[in-house]
């Protein structure tokens, strides 16, 4: 039951085209910087900050500060995030914004 509830949280977070696009972008380019995700997804930075927050919160991505800076971050997909994407049969190719 607990596992099913956890999966519901993860799929609820992912059931959003912006967040799925972001996850695919990070999956295709591990350790990508916040500003590069914004550029590749063509998303406003406040919106991106929120969606990344949701993905991080449910454990699909992890954040790391770039060297010598507490104001610049880079992101990668977690092991659990990779497993989810594999289950969904994700083909590893960049996803363009709609």
């Amino acid at each position: 039951m607990e596992e099913a509830r956890r999966m519901l949280t993860i799929y609820s977070a992912l059931d959003n085209d912006s967040r799925l696009k972001i996850l695919c972008t990070i999956f295709n380019e591990p350790d990508i910087a916040f500003n590069d995700i914004a550029r590749k997804t063509e998303m406003d930075k406040p919106a991106l900050a929120y969606h990344l927050g949701v993905l991080k919160n449910v454990g699909l991505v992890e954040m790391e500060y770039q060297k010598r800076s507490k104001k610049l971050t880079k992101y990668r997909v977690t092991k659990e995030g990779e497993e989810i994407l594999r289950k969904l049969n994700l083909v590893v190719e960049p996803v363009k914004p709609s």
């Binding site: 509830r5 519901l8 609820s12 900050a49 929120y50 949701v54 919160n57 954040m63």
Partner: protein, 179 residues
Amino acid sequence: MHEHFNRLLDSVHGERKRFEELVREACIIVVLLGAGGKEIVKRRNMARKLRDNGIIALIPEDDFAPEVAPSLVEEFIFKHSDVDLVFLNVESWGSATEFAQFHDDTRIAPKLRILTFHKYHLLYGSSKSYLSDLYLTHIAKYGHVYAYDDKGESTFPTSEKIILTLSLRYKFLRALGKV
């Protein structure tokens, strides 16, 4: 490419529905706002409890990228995102400013749940401050200003109890399709 992405999104949606039926629940997203410093520990504990109950609980200082200042990003997020509830514990000048900024915005106010120490709640306390008066305006217009007591001085519930009770009920209503 778009076709592939749409298929992927459909798969995600299908899995979400499958797990919703399996556990007979829905997931909601809440944001916890309040004071920084030592008080953030309280919000982190609260967020952990909400997560244990299948609720996505965001703390801006912890979850939002530092590239965008929380004060700049919050209004945009609450107006345009899929956040269900925003709990604002008014316990510092910063959070009082957030309340003043959001309280009369018709796109944010319906999601807003204000928590204030019982002595500052105009209906229960004796405070005559401008902020307490603003609470009354908010109560009259939108409701959802809750008095709490985390010091055990009265019979008012703790902030944690209020947040957990309201979030769980909202989650239940979401599962029933009533919100």
